[in-house]
């Protein structure tokens, strides 16, 4: 793979976001290349989650645009953005607590196959062998097979996060956005998740990760952008970022 701009799959172009008088994001220009894992790091309140919310359509940018795969995402509904191939894992897991684990994992596959709406109210879930098989394999992969008939709401927090990741993966998205995918996980679960994410990388899925845990960032990221005060203050390979004095001052210096 080359690193020419032709491979840019997500372009956050000159995005500003203000809340009242507060500048949450200024002059954000990000180019994410296909198949790469791009980490966004920064101290608390740097605007990381706001940036992610702008990308998935939860927030409208005050200025600027988000272009994905040649399509402008700005102004689109969250479900339309998902339908073009963007999936998101949330900081606090957004799952279907009242459905079984298996159903949680099956549902996204329907959205992928049937689009945003299909009137299939007389067909039976039992006949969806293909989707069910995929879902069971996925649960096998993330080690939740045993719990597949449990109500998802009764899973542990770590399991919920892994299940949410599995839900996104069921859609084979072109772009996967992860908001602190390992926060609150045990070291063991964190490592399992890193392995899982590495495996996806081999499949060529583009990922944007927001993460606090430097261990996770440096084991996964191809490229890192450092956000502070709503601006990108540095960008580069993990090695470059690690050695950037500005970053050390703003962020890493305090953390390590």
């Amino acid at each position: 793979m080359t690193t020419s701009t032709e491979n840019v799959v997500l372009h956050v172009a000159d995005v500003h976001k203000t809340f009242g008088g507060l500048h949450a994001l200024s002059d954000i220009d990000l180019q994410i290349e296909e198949g790469k894992t791009h980490a966004i790091i920064g101290p608390n309140g740097a605007g990381k989650s706001t940036l992610l919310n702008v990308v998935v359509g939860r927030l409208a940018p005050t200025r600027g645009a988000v272009v994905f795969d040649g399509k402008v995402l700005t102004g689109k509904q969250p479900h339309e953005i998902n339908q073009v191939g963007v999936a998101r894992v949330f900081q606090t897991p957004e799952i279907f607590p009242d459905l079984s684990v298996l159903q949680n994992v099956m549902a996204p596959a329907f959205a992928k196959r049937d689009g945003s709406f299909k009137l299939n109210f007389l067909s039976s879930l039992d006949d969806e062998h293909q989707i069910r098989k995929e879902a069971e394999e996925m649960l096998e992969d993330i080690g939740l097979s045993e719990q597949k008939l449990m109500k998802a709401g009764s899973l542990s927090r770590g399991d919920k996060r892994r299940m949410e990741l599995a839900m996104c993966l069921m859609q084979h998205p072109k772009l996967l956005l992860l908001d602190e995918p390992t926060a609150g996980m045990s070291r063991h679960d964190t490592n399992t998740t890193i392995e899982l994410l590495k495996k996806i990388k081999e499949r060529g899925m583009t990922k944007v990760i927001i993460e606090h845990d430097m261990h996770v960032v440096f084991s996964l990221a191809d490229k890192i952008s450092v956000l502070a005060g709503g601006r990108i203050i540095a960008e580069g390979t993990p090695e470059e970022v690690r050695n950037n004095p500005k970053v050390q001052e703003a962020y890493l210096g305090g953390a390590h």
């Binding site: 607590p97 007389l122 109500k151």
Partner: protein, 388 residues
């Protein structure tokens, strides 16, 4: 998907359907010991059963609480009576028109109301239902016949009937190719629609569509970020549910060709909600059980009067008897609604899952309390699982 797919059911669903059908068709037999086996009441059982399972498709699956469902019931009734008046006393065209028109009406109201959720949705549906009710009583009197209610008249054209059958003296009775739709035949006619309605609900519950509706109730945000456009889903559920109510309203007119605006009042909507809650929201048979219980006890309680009570408590000493009779008389006869209100409060407070939850709790209690936590953690396995 394909024609075969429609009839392929899991064994569990099939068993439920068969048992349900037997229970419904055998109502005239097993209601005997309860003294409730007369046709009028059984017709109500079937009609309100349809109403409740239809309401449950909306409230039970999507969690959207409509406080205006009685409006669709009213539209169904008016449409059916008009069909009788204009075309034929055969119930089939009347029901077809009732379902179509209430469906269209639901489409209109749902399209607007579903732009909001939560209590705003409830208040919007309430506002629409009140508007319909007020209009039915005032400007729409030419269509609804206002307070008197819409009735059959000797001079009605009945275009189709007059082509085939000679005009008889007196008011005609709705008849299904010669079978009069009153009494036991009337009940069986309604019962068949109840079973059909139940079957369709089963299909919805077991379909991907049903799962999406549950997803909306469980977490609408996740639905959106998973790529689902939730509004067409809720709108479809709303329309289907409105059509069930229209069917129920139509059947009311079939068994008794009369339609009044009070059928659309919001207290009537409240009763539909109560039936569903009492039986068990979101379960398949719960709403039917709720509807039956309420109609059964309504029948019993409202027939009680002081003399019945005096007989009942005659064994008590005089002073005590008077007191007990006075106290209980509050809850029976005219006071039936007080009982209803109390049951409502108690069920919502202590058993929001209704009778079905009560049943589950009791069975858990008897099958060993040790596995309690486990059982609760399991997904609600009434039809919700893609079973083997």
């Amino acid at each position: 998907m394909n024609f075969q797919g429609i009839f392929s059911m899991s064994r569990k669903d099939l068993t439920t359907l068969v048992i349900f059908s037997i229970v419904v068709l055998a109502l005239p037999i097993w209601l005997q010991p309860f003294g409730a086996a007369y046709p009028d009441l059984m017709q109500k059982f079937a009609i309100f059963g349809i109403l409740a399972i239809g309401f449950n498709i909306l409230f039970g699956l999507t969690g959207y609480l409509s406080f205006g469902h009685a409006a669709f019931l009213g539209v169904g009734s008016y449409t059916a009576v008009w069909t009788f008046k204009l075309f034929s006393m055969n119930p089939i065209p009347a029901l077809i028109f009732a379902v179509i028109l209430s469906g269209l009406f639901a489409l209109l109201i749902g399209y607007v109301s579903l732009r909001r959720s939560g209590i705003y949705f409830s208040i919007l549906t309430l506002a629409f239902a009140q508007m319909s009710y007020n209009l039915a009583y005032s400007v729409l009197t030419p269509i609804t016949n206002g307070e008197t209610g819409l009735q059959l008249e000797a001079g009605d054209p009945r275009v189709l009937d007059s082509m085939f059958v000679a005009e008889e003296a007196g008011l005609p009775v709705s008849n299904f190719f010669g079978i009069e739709m009153s009494g036991i035949p009337g009940f069986y006619f309604c019962a068949i629609f109840l079973i059909l309605g139940f079957f369709i609900t089963q299909r919805i519950f077991a379909s991907p569509f049903g799962m999406m509706l549950r997803g909306i109730k469980s977490n609408q945000t996740r639905m959106n970020y998973t790529g689902f456009n939730t509004r067409p889903y809720t709108l479809t559920a709303f329309v289907i549910s409105g059509m069930y109510a229209g069917l129920a309203g139509g059947l009311m007119a079939v068994t008794d060709p009369l339609a009044g605006a009070e059928r659309m009042q919001w207290t009537a909507s409240g009763e539909i909600v109560l039936m569903t809650i009492l039986g068990g929201v979101g379960t398949l048979v719960g709403p039917v059980i709720g509807a039956w219980l309420i109609k059964y006890f309504e029948n019993i309680f409202s027939s009680f009067n002081e003399s019945v009570l005096h007989n009942l408590f005659g064994f008590l000493p005089d002073g005590v008897e008077g007191f007990v009779v006075e106290l209980t008389s509050m809850f029976v006869g005219e006071g039936w609604h007080l009982t209803l209100g109390l049951v409502f409060v108690l069920v919502v407070t202590f058993l929001p899952g209704g009778m079905m939850e009560g049943y589950r709790r009791i069975t858990t209690l008897f099958t060993g309390g040790g596995g309690d936590g486990d059982k609760k953690a399991k997904a609600d396995d009434t039809q919700t699982q893609p079973a083997e």
